[in-house]
């Protein structure tokens, strides 16, 4: 009902994707602006625009409608800083600066409140509980609960935290965890269709195997975007993953037709190219998919917008509209000024070739009439070709944070609470600075309070 009332009270409401960036220009140091743009839900309901949350409604009411939106927003932001839009006792500015949400009173997060009493015979409340973490590690990484005898033995451990670490080491090698890596890979790859090497549209098993390989065994998760090798399971169904440089049979060559110098991890598998490039000269779906899944930016939610004004002839930032889809129009340009330059470097990769044998191939002259070069932009920085694109991507904070969050969300069933933001940043910065070793990150994760505090 509240949402309905807000909707009725705001007949002029409209989505303003540029607002997420304008907000962060005003509050550059706010935790919500760590990636230079905030999300739509800063002002809108969780269902997205046009419904406002209480903060967005106050902000909308404060806007000077006689001015352009971009010019009016900073003043409106300042006008509502002293209000407490969500009624939780903290002003909007206070909430923005500490990283909670001015439009969401539930974001007070009772889970983050102090544990004032700790009397509990079964759990160590208010702090890291090694026994609790040990049981969770066995569940999360070995897939089962400890047996009665194992719990008795753990109770006598002289160094419980060492036992947690040893258990994690053992479980990371378990068949269970290998299967879970496949499941986590499904959320990133998003497979559709049969898993057959004879499939015209590719066999997504190659993608899942690469995901599991690159995120295990102490390897560099950057291979998710940079691997020039292929991954096979030998023997079949053994769970043992092996990298190979070249296909070893005609079937494998059909399934992965690219030579090593044109392979870039998950982006350029046959499945990825066939399903996401399809027939488009500008492979927007290809890049937006991995921009979302591995760099954390969902352009459809106005995340990760770094507009490049290529046209320079309109009153708004606009792309060149190289394939004549009308992307220059104001309503489209807000996303396409990021999305199109993001995609140009990948234009030489063929999607589906129904009349020949070039599905998933790299073709030197593909789309050259529209895009003479493979120059483009990622994070607002110029890149020329796929190699520069992935190099910038895998060394970014966005990649480290997103890979960490993929595993955090799988294990915790939620994102980090605001009181866990510091621990979470330490996790992903550790991943970034230590060779992007996911297993090392998981070792750190199980010793966080987020994981081990009951």
């Amino acid at each position: 009902m509240l949402g309905l009332l807000l909707l009725l009270a705001a007949p002029t409401a409209e989505a303003r994707p540029e607002a997420t960036q304008l907000f962060c220009e005003t509050y550059a140091d706010a935790p919500a602006c760590i990636n230079d743009v905030t999300t739509c839900t800063q002002c809108h309901d969780t269902s997205g625009p046009p419904n406002f949350n209480p903060y967005g409604a106050d902000l909308s009411g404060a806007l000077d409608r006689g001015q352009a939106f971009e010019a009016a927003l900073p003043a409106a932001l300042a006008d509502v800083e002293g209000l407490d839009s969500d009624g939780d006792g903290a002003s909007n500015l206070e909430e923005i600066l500490v990283g909670s949400w001015p439009g969401w009173s539930e974001d007070l997060e009772p889970e983050c409140s102090a544990q004032t009493e700790t009397t509990n015979p079964d759990y160590r409340l208010g702090g890291y509980d090694a026994a609790f973490a040990w049981r969770r590690v066995m569940q999360d990484f070995c897939g089962r609960s400890p047996r009665y005898e194992e719990r008795q033995a753990f109770a006598g451990e002289a160094d419980p935290e060492a036992a947690v670490s040893e258990l994690l080491d053992a479980c990371l090698k378990s068949p269970y965890w290998k299967e879970i890596l496949d499941e986590i890979g499904v959320s990133v790859v998003q497979p559709v269709g049969p898993d057959s090497d004879a499939n015209l549209l590719g066999n997504w098993r190659w993608d899942l195997r690469l995901f599991a390989y690159a995120t295990s065994g102490g390897r560099d998760a950057g291979d998710l975007l940079q691997a020039d090798y292929l991954v096979v399971e030998e023997p079949s169904y053994s769970g043992i993953l092996l990298p190979i440089d070249e296909p070893r049979s005609d079937n494998e060559a059909y399934a992965q037709p690219l030579p090593p110098e044109h392979r870039y991890g998950l982006i350029t598998t046959r499945y990825s190219l066939a399903m996401r490039v399809m027939f488009s000269p500008v492979p927007r779906n290809l890049t937006s998919h991995y921009y979302r899944e591995l760099l954390g930016y969902d352009i459809s939610r106005s995340e990760g917008l770094y507009p490049i004004d290529e046209a320079g002839i309109y009153d708004w930032d606009a792309p060149l509209d190289v394939d004549d889809v009308g992307a220059w129009q104001e309503g489209c340009a807000s996303c396409h000024t990021t999305l199109d330059p993001l995609s140009y470097p990948w234009s030489r990769y063929e999607g589906i070739d129904l009349e020949g044998s070039n599905t998933g191939a790299w073709l030197e002259d593909r789309a050259t009439e529209l895009l003479p070069t493979t120059e483009g932009y990622l994070f607002g920085e110029p890149v020329d070709g796929p190699a520069e694109w992935v190099e910038l991507a895998v060394h970014s904070d966005a990649f480290a944070a997103t890979v960490t969050e993929v595993f955090f969300r799988y294990l915790m069933r939620r994102g980090p609470y605001t009181c866990e933001a510091e621990e979470f940043e330490a996790l992903w910065s550790g991943l970034r600075d230590n060779g992007r070793d996911v297993e090392a990150m998981l070792h750190a994760l199980v010793f966080t309070d987020a994981y081990g505090q009951p």
Binding site: E111, D122, Y123, S145, Y148, E183, R414, Q453
Partner: protein, 233 residues
């Protein structure tokens, strides 16, 4: 999903009617060796007056265990549920649960049990309970407990070892030993006195429905395997 302590077990209705096991007729009275006073003692404790802890994790009465402010327990997903039942009841994966005697319940109910399904285009792990999650979990647990019973009736008992499964009665010591054994297998701990009382009390309900020890141990297994403590971590 906020409480960390084991929740009091509920006395369960008889649910074995759909499992194809014929109940003996006429039934032997259960608990015939239990005194009236003992039966009174087995009444499940009334917890309705237990004062709740507040949101700051503060106990409202001295000595009452407090709850965690965090308390973000997670429901076990499909493979975890299956592996736990396999370990607890010494069963293989294909002995846990089959739909219509043919299809693996875990595979068929993978999404309600928190998994992904490529075939159905479900790429994200559902992290909330779904309408059929409870049904799927109960089906898994009940079939596993029952399948263990069948195996124990056919050969040397492995799990239901402390009572005569064909009999309609058991001593208090036998019942307690059976409850303890199942608690250690399913919850990896010894039962609390009130849990022993509650599960012993279940025998009276089983007897009222004409059941025997075989029915009772199956329902004890089911009650433990579907408790909050067994399903979350």
């Amino acid at each position: 999903m906020r409480a960390l302590l084991p929740v009091p077990l509920l006395t369960l209705p008889l649910l074995l009617a759909g499992c194809g096991k014929e109940l003996p007729d006429p039934p032997e009275p259960l608990g015939s060796e239990t005194t009236t006073d003992d039966q009174d003692d087995t009444t499940p404790p009334d917890t309705t007056d237990t004062p709740p802890a507040d949101d700051t994790g503060t106990a409202t009465e001295p000595g009452e265990p407090v709850t965690s402010t965090r308390a973000d327990l997670r429901l076990k997903r499909w493979r975890q549920l299956s592996l736990d039942l396999e370990g607890a009841l010494s069963l293989t994966a294909d002995q846990i649960c089959l739909e219509a005697g043919v299809y693996d319940c875990v595979d068929l109910n993978v999404v309600p049990l928190g998994g992904v399904s490529v075939a159905n285009g479900v790429f994200e792990h559902p992290n909330t309970l779904q309408a059929t999650s409870g049904l799927a979990i109960e089906r898994l647990a009940l079939q596993a407990c029952y399948n263990r019973l069948v195996l124990d009736l056919e050969g040397d008992p492995v799990v239901y070892t402390e009572v005569d499964l064909a009999a309609g009665s058991a001593t208090d010591a036998e019942a307690e030993a059976q409850i303890t054994g199942l608690s250690r297998r399913i919850l990896a701990r010894d039962p609390l006195p009130e849990e022993i009382a509650a599960l012993s009390g279940l025998r009276a309900d089983v007897a009222d429905e004409g059941g025997d020890n075989a029915d009772w141990v199956t329902l004890v297994c089911f009650a433990l395997a579907t408790s909050t403590e067994a399903l979350t971590y």
